[in-house]
């Protein structure tokens, strides 16, 4: 796709206008003016008070409801509690609003907060990796957004500013990422990490040189292209619908609802009784009776049941589609110099930034349905920000669902954008199959499992029980052969690729300069079959459900690969850490 500017659908129209005006002279000077504005302590936007109260009350929702209910019925205690809860929230919010200031002091971004206990957090600007935004409907109506400032340590944002106006956000972004004219230095995380020792400045200079060589793909592009934003990928709604059809999201959500239903204090015995009671079901169906053909024949009943299942299936798929559209509507991936930026969402808009250097691991997932529709999902893993409870919407979108759905034909181009200078032509990869004995080894396992099944079957029901094992044997053998054929390993000049999976095909990449350790493992069974496994550890927080852990390789081949990976990883220096 040719480089073009973001269309009007960019979520921050106001900011876009501002930036557009200043774009021609946008450089260090723009950064300087933004910086100057931020030298003075800044307050949050006044609407913060409202949003803060809402979030406080949300965390105390149950006691608040009880207290209000009790107060409404004239209970003195309830009234007292209600005042306490709402008053407390109001006081805390006001204290926070009037004491929280953010500004830039020297080269640090400083947030001070607190009345009795004063907390000062200062983050070196160079270490700031992400400025993520979350905007729900209310935020959008008021033209504000919640801002999260993250560094690489990031299990939690370094600072959360709830809420700022677009003008404030753009000023902040200018001050932090303003030096985009020289992206290698300004936004390069590599310059930050080396600086942990006393040789900070010297190391800084050297590491930026290293990474600019490494990212020669960027250097090859014109400097102007590096400083402007470029739309890399946009997901149209029809593709989201396809992805929703292909995914099992609906089933997952249904499962969650079911779990909630059973946990939320309903008498589970009563429910179970109802579910097993024929009358309850016929009551449920009765209103539909006129629309259903009367059936007494077996075929009719079977047909009805099949129809019902089909309806349930489509309902689940529709839930899946709705989820995809809610979450990823207008999903855009843009590039700003060395940073990738994602924005998406129907009601709650999310915008997240990922510096390209922070990508540790890339994985392409294709479920069965997706393969039918020639679609795929691309996931990336970054260092730090390991999710968990404190994971916010912005990091969920950027780390878990980097590109939820793309056309198969687009994969190579997109991967090239993620790691410039790497040739992604999959047909050029020299794929190595696992050891030729693998199918036999896996078949032996399926034979043992079937034999066990037959033995149990015979013990239960002589002699017909043996049929169970006889049925599973060809099935399991077929799966074993398919599985052994699906596993492939390839080495390119920038890293390794591993692909596996029968129904959901997963293809993952790890890069030499991102490999932390390399291991070679051999179980006693492996030794019997003259096999070994090679695995690669990266700093990726949760490697996209697909570790580079290649089993069943021929032992000699694995040993050779281990040696070569060892020296290749040592030769390719990481651009950070």
């Amino acid at each position: 796709m040719s480089p073009n500017h973001i269309p009007d659908a960019e979520p921050f129209e106001v900011a876009e206008l501002n930036e557009g005006a200043s774009l021609p002279l946008r450089n260090a000077a723009a950064q300087a003016t933004a910086m100057a504005g931020l030298r003075e302590p800044n307050f949050l936007h006044p609407t913060s008070i409202g949003f803060d109260i809402i979030s406080h009350i949300r965390s105390l929702l149950v006691p608040a409801i009880v207290a209000v209910y009790s107060a409404a019925r004239g209970g003195v205690w309830g009234l007292g509690f209600a005042t306490l809860i709402f008053g407390g929230a109001l006081v805390r919010t006001l204290v926070r609003y009037f004491t929280l200031r953010y500004c830039i002091k020297g080269s640090d971004f400083v947030v001070t907060e607190g009345l009795l206990f004063r907390r000062i957090r200062s983050v070196p600007i160079r270490r700031i990796q992400n400025v993520d935004l979350v905007q729900n409907v209310l935020h959008r109506l008021l033209g504000v957004a919640e801002v999260r400032i993250e560094t690489a340590s990031g299990t939690e944002p370094e600072a959360t500013l709830r809420v700022l106006t677009h003008a404030q956000i753009e000023e902040l972004r200018h001050a932090i990422f303003g030096g985009e004219a020289e992206p290698e230095v300004g936004t390069n995380p590599s310059s930050n990490f080396v600086g942990t020792n006393a040789l900070a400045t010297a190391a800084l200079a050297t590491s930026s040189v290293v990474s600019s060589q490494e990212l020669s793909g960027v250097a090859a592009e014109s400097p102007a292209a590096a400083s402007s934003r470029r739309l890399i990928h946009h997901i149209p709604v029809r593709r989201l619908i396809a992805a929703g059809l292909a995914s099992n999201r609906g089933a997952v959500l249904f499962g969650i609802l079911f779990g909630l239903y059973f946990q939320s204090g309903f008498d589970s015995e009563d429910t179970a009784k109802r579910l097993t009671n024929k009358g309850w079901w016929s009551d449920l169906i009765r209103p539909l009776q006129p629309y259903l053909p009367s059936t007494d024949t077996l075929a009719g009943v079977v047909g009805l049941v099949a129809l019902g299942l089909l309806v349930v299936f489509f309902c689940l798929r529709i839930v899946g589609i709705a989820w995809y559209i809610l979450r990823f509507y207008d999903h855009q991936l843009t590039r700003h110099g060395n940073d990738l930026r994602i924005s998406c969402g129907l009601f709650t808009k999310v915008s997240a930034t990922i510096p390209r250097q922070r990508i540790q691991f890339i994985s392409v997932h294709r479920t069965l349905f997706m393969r039918w529709m020639k679609l795929a999902a691309i996931r990336i893993e970054t260092a730090g920000g390991s999710g968990g409870e404190n994971e916010n919407a912005a990091s969920t979108v950027s780390r878990r669902w980097f590109l939820p759905v793309v056309a198969e034909s687009d994969i190579a181009r997109l991967l090239g954008e993620l790691r410039p200078g790497n040739a992604w032509d999959e047909s050029q990869f020299v794929w190595h199959a696992v050891s030729p004995l693998t199918a036999r080894r896996l078949m032996r396992v399926s034979f043992l499992v079937s034999a066990l099944l037959s033995a149990v079957g015979i013990w239960l029901w002589f002699p017909w029980g043996a049929a169970g094992g006889l049925v599973t044997l060809p099935l399991l053998s077929y799966l074993a052969i398919k599985k052994s054929r699906a596993m492939r390993y390839a080495r390119t000049d920038w890293g390794v690729a591993y692909r596996s999976g029968l129904l959901t095909r997963k293809l993952s990449f790890a890069f030499y300069d991102r490999m932390q350790t390399i291991s070679f493992n051999q179980t006693p069974f492996d030794r019997r079959w003259n096999m070994a496994a090679i695995s690669v550890d990266t700093a990726a927080a949760g490697p996209a459900d697909h570790l580079i852990d290649v089993p069943y390789l021929d032992a000699a081949f694995a040993a050779e690969q281990f040696r070569e990976l060892q020296s290749l990883a040592a030769r390719h220096r990481p651009s950070w850490g």
């Binding site: 080396v194 040789l199 010297a202 190391a203 050297t206 260092a383 490999m515 932390q516 350790t517 390399i518 291991s519 070679f520 493992n521 051999q522 179980t523 006693p524 030794r527 003259n530 070994a532 695995s535 550890d537 990266t538 700093a539 990726a540 927080a541 949760g542 490697p543 570790l547 032992a555 000699a556 694995a558 040993a559 281990f562 040696r563 990976l565 060892q566 020296s567 990883a569 040592a570 220096r573 990481p574 850490g577």
Partner: protein, 221 residues
Amino acid sequence: MQWPYIRIVGDELARKHGKAGRLVLANILPKTPAIQHSRSLLPERHLLDDGSTTAETTEAYQTLAPQSIAFEQRTGYVGALVLLGITVVISTPMAVAFAWRNWWIWGALLVVWLLLGSLFLWHAHVWPRIVYRATRWRLDETGMEILRGVWWKHRIAIPVARVQHVDVSQGPIQRMFDLATLTIHTAGTKNASIELSGLEHAQALLLRDRLIEQKDSLDVT
């Protein structure tokens, strides 16, 4: 049982390598006549059965400190005694409840104790030697490599540039044997920290310095 002997071995090693330890440093580097403790004990099958058991590789790898066997054995004996104690405490009341009047139950109990006891003793006395033989390490210009495992064999390579920091720790019993544990931390997730215990203390310290030196030299150039 042999405390004075252990002390002598420790003293001897201290005298031999000293705190200055330049001598030991020489041993860390490959291609020099390494300590190669008990190399004659190295059986061919120790290395991976993959054709990489060439003279070159056997030369380069080093073993742990020999007194680590004694250390493992000593702690193993204590563990074996505890396990045997637990067995006795559990099995005696069971036997009493089952058939204390029958003379053979006591015989059977004795046999079980003897069998289990000899198994524990074997595990405490012989197993550390087998583990010792299967554990090797090597430091060269690419980084650290560790081989271990008797049944489940693992080989891990840590490039020097990926070393985040290195710890050397020493427990009270390890101190008696002049041993230490080297822990290498990386930014990885699955293998975020790699431990190697049973190194001589001075050698562990030198290894640590050497790893950091190598890493720093990479960062400067």
